[in-house]
């Protein structure tokens, strides 16, 4: 009887010791804004700041150089060209319109222009000016600023979490 107690106690101690060795790697959730490469204020709600990855941040830069003139209502230079266009282009955070389109369609309309996709010629083609990676990044930025965010149609949602 006594032996069992001894032995049990010993085993517990060893296990406890071993378990204590395994330091608890902190798994505190990092603030997504602090670990973002860049940020963009939500166009509809300036208080809400959207974190951007490197790729989305590149898209943001290209958007503000190339697309902002027609796809936003105010531009770095002041007024927007959007109202001069027929059809009036969708705002780039217009999730009602753009979340319905696949990434592939979005990349195509940017690369090939409106005419090639059966849309208005007022949407110019960027395929000879922007690289495929740059076009992907603009689309990624579009997805980031559409609020609530775009959900790809069939993403293998993984419930798995490390450890």
């Amino acid at each position: 009887m006594k032996f069992h107690v001894w032995f049990g106690a010993l085993l517990l101690m060893t296990l406890a010791g071993a378990a204590a060795c395994r330091k608890n790697a902190e798994s505190a959730k990092a603030d997504p804004l602090l670990s973002a490469y860049d940020t963009e204020a939500d166009w509809n709600d300036a208080q809400h700041v959207v974190p951007l990855s490197f790729q989305q941040a590149q898209g943001k830069r290209i958007f503000y150089q190339q697309c902002v003139w027609c796809h936003a209502d105010s531009t770095p230079a002041g007024p927007s060209n959007r109202s001069n266009l027929t059809p009036v282009p969708p705002l780039l955070n217009d999730r009602a319109t753009l979340n319905a389109e696949s990434d592939e369609y979005m990349q195509n309309i940017v690369a090939l222009g409106g005419t090639a996709m059966g849309k208005s010629a007022m949407m110019p083609p960027y395929g000879r000016m922007l690289s495929a990676e740059e076009i992907r990044s603009v689309v990624a930025f579009t997805r980031a600023i559409a609020q609530p965010p775009y959900q790809p149609p069939a993403r293998a949602e993984s419930q798995y979490s490390a450890k």
């Binding site: 990855s53 790729q55 003139w69 060209n81 083609p125 000879r128 993984s158």
Partner: protein, 707 residues
């Protein structure tokens, strides 16, 4: 040998078991090693993915490391961050540490991790790798400063790193290089106004007030005001913590700086008397002030619909209250010849008529005033000798002399610490004093920037206030300064800053210097970015158009504030500039003989018009006549403005002429290019000049052909 008692047996049995158990701890501990857990975890994770095979193809159960001997890199991070190069693990739903690295221009396997992220590459425990500064000196760099790492090799500015670029611009713009050594930030010929003659310009009371509260202030929340008006300028003059005695001393010393006898520009008294009778004098002066587009560089407070806003550029100082600041005699002399007072000023020397000069001076001295400017300033009286002596000593001790020149006064060299290696400093090298801030480099830099006295009560550094993005940007720029790369392999990676310079000579140089064209325009990479880049202006614009524009740079868009000033240029000056541009400022890809405008036929013009309006709908961005967009320049006068060779080359490949133009490159056929060129060369506008060369704002400057 006696028989063992049961008791002894038991003791022996227990100790053997104990011994075995203790022996087992070590393999067990080894098995339970943190990184091994992650490895197992990765295998289990891979099983849940559709592409398991690919994910575990190269899997090995031991430590994985990236070893790059030339760059001092031994990074074991990929032991746990195993999926870092697996494209299929890019999604945010993939748990860390297995997520793929987001796409960046460098391949992780070729560079390792610590070059950009810092931290301890050889460590195999989570805490040691990321956080510890006990045995190791550098914790992981928080992601929001990651652009600092780009800057350790890329001394040249990158489009991908806006935060770093902003930080570097702040370092230069706030004159940090006045006191600190900063790599890549050159000292310009004039950091801050030369004060050798400041006593001829302003009163002692004004100096007192300025020192107490500089015009441009950033409050605790980072909001900037100039003279009390909201603005976006950066204050170049920081706020020093000065006592009443110090203020009196410095203002006394500065107000007696009148080294050069001041020769005021005298107008004929009889003529002046006649002008003075004109009741409209000041308002006519205001009109000239507007017509000359002083507001392209200087802002003024304007009240519209009950709201007061500063309108105008920020190349020169804000002028709303300048009439109460400067001595009117000084003003007229300054306007006529700014370089006579400040040899390095960027203020252009206008071609004034005496009458205009008088009117504009009157306007400034009587209308741009504020009777309350000096309220609250005590009557200081004549400076006493002891005050002057104190002021002189303070001027040197406080570091004023690091930015401001006073002839005959020798400032202390390297007034503040050398910052060329600040970004690579180890925690043990930093003085935290009695402060309670966390002991790491980032916290140190930010504490120092926000309140210099927090880490060192005796700090001489003046007080700056920042908004969070600017604080982070300047921290990023400082973190990027890690000194000379430690190994030659790293040295070879450095992408140097491009030396940009433009050294014109002869008659052009004289006119170019007089009007300070480079304050707003770029020439071969050198100059400002307020207005169009003129490096290839000679290829782009027709000579006659340039001459007309320079003589009368009016535009058709009166609402725009920032515009080419009216310099009152003589025909000779305009011809000198236009001749030089057409001869020298040429682009090799726009060959003037390649296009013969005489061969254009009416059919080509008609086809071009059709392509413009229907097939390509260029009107979405360009205006002709009254219709179209304004992303690109107005083309109503393209036939008189642009050279056919430029139009043709531009249509073929705009980026070949102006690499960062936003005009998208199209797939035009050769016939289409010709037809469009033919059409555009027919566009003329009878009213001259037209609006093409105006800019809507700073950012529009980089847009394209005519902006």
């Amino acid at each position: 040998m006696g028989k063992l008692t049961n008791r002894t047996r038991l003791v022996l049995a227990v100790s053997s078991v104990m011994f075995l158990a203790v022996l087992a701890i070590s393999p067990f501990k080894d098995f339970r090693r943190e990184w091994k857990q992650y490895k197992h975890s990765y295998l289990r994770f891979a099983q849940t993915r559709p592409d398991t095979k690919k994910l575990v193809a190269d899997y090995r159960p031991d430590i994985d490391q990236i070893w790059l001997p030339g760059m001092n890199v031994v990074d074991r991070c990929t032991t746990c961050h195993y999926g870092i190069t697996q494209a299929s693990l890019a999604d945010q739903s993939v748990p860390q540490p297995f997520r793929a690295h987001p796409p960046i221009p460098h391949n992780v396997r070729d560079w390792g991790c610590t070059i950009c992220h810092r931290g301890q590459g050889p460590a195999t425990e989570v805490a040691e790798a990321h956080k510890s500064t006990l045995a190791w000196e550098q914790p992981i760099l928080p992601t929001r400063f990651i652009q600092a790492s780009c800057g350790t090799c890329h001394y040249a500015d990158l489009p991908q790193t806006p935060q770093l670029t902003r930080g570097r611009a702040l370092l230069a713009g706030l004159n940090c290089q006045g006191c600190h050594r900063l790599p890549g930030v050159e000292r310009p010929a004039m950091l801050a106004p030369d004060l050798t003659n400041v006593g001829t310009k302003v009163s002692r009371e004004w100096i007192y007030k300025w020192l107490k509260e500089p015009r441009t202030i950033v409050d605790k929340d980072g909001n900037v005001t100039v003279n009390g008006y909201e603005a976006e300028d950066e204050p170049r003059m920081p706020k020093f913590r000065l006592t009443e005695t110090e203020l009196r001393g410095l203002s006394a010393y500065l107000s007696v700086q009148k080294a050069k006898a001041f020769v005021s520009y005298k107008l004929d008294a009889r003529v002046v008397a006649a002008w003075t009778k004109n009741p409209e004098l000041a308002s006519q002066g205001e009109l000239r002030f507007r017509q000359m587009f002083c507001s392209t560089c200087h802002s003024l407070a304007v009240t519209r619909a009950g709201e007061t806003k500063l309108i105008g550029g920020d190349i020169g100082p804000e002028l709303t209250k300048v009439g109460s600041k400067v001595n009117p005699d000084w003003l007229i002399t300054w306007l006529r010849d700014p370089q006579g007072y400040l040899p390095h000023t960027r203020m252009p020397r206008y071609g004034w008529s005496d009458e205009d000069l008088f009117k504009v001076t009157r306007y400034i001295a009587t209308k741009l005033t504020d009777p309350d400017l000096l309220t609250g300033v005590p009557q200081l009286g004549q400076p006493r000798e002891d005050e002057i002596q104190l002021g002189r000593r303070l001027f040197l001790e406080k570091g004023c002399a690091s930015c401001h020149v006073i002839e005959g006064l020798n400032p202390q060299k390297d007034f503040g610490p050398d910052l060329s290696a600040i970004g690579g400093k180890n925690t043990s090298e930093l003085e935290f004093g009695a402060s309670k801030i966390p002991h790491n480099l980032v916290s140190y830099i930010q504490a120092k920037l926000q309140d210099p006295a927090s880490v060192n009560p005796a700090a001489r550094m003046p007080q700056y206030n920042w908004n969070q993005p600017d604080l982070d940007a300047i921290t990023t720029a400082l973190l990027s300064m890690k000194g000379a790369p430690p190994t030659s392999a790293l040295q070879n990676l450095v992408v140097p800053r491009k030396e940009v310079d433009f050294h014109p000579t002869g008659a052009f140089e004289e006119v170019y210097e007089r009007y300070k064209c480079y304050s707003c325009h770029k020439f071969n990479g050198y100059g400002g970015d307020l207005a169009p880049d003129l490096t290839y202006e000679g290829s782009r614009a027709q000579r006659q158009w340039i001459v007309d524009f320079l003589k009368n740079p009016q535009t058709l868009r009166p609402t725009v504030v920032l515009r080419m000033p009216q310099f009152n240029m003589s025909g000779r000056d305009a011809a000198t500039l236009a001749d030089y541009m057409t001869m020298v400022l040429q682009h090799p890809a726009a060959n003037p003989t390649a296009v013969d405008a005489k061969q254009f036929t009416l059919a080509m013009v008609a086809l071009g018009k059709q392509l413009y309006e229907v097939k390509y709908q260029c009107q979405s961005c360009h205006t002709i006549g009254g219709t179209g967009g304004y992303v690109g320049p107005n083309l109503s006068n393209a036939g008189d403005w642009l050279t056919p060779a430029w139009i043709e080359a531009w249509l073929r490949n705009p980026q070949a002429l102006v690499p960062d133009t936003i005009e998208p490159r199209r797939n035009f056929t050769a016939d289409e290019v010709r037809a469009l060129t033919a059409y555009l060369t027919t566009l003329r506008q009878s009213i001259k000049p037209q609006k093409t060369a105006s800019t809507t704002a700073k950012h529009a400057a980089t847009q394209g052909a005519g902006r």
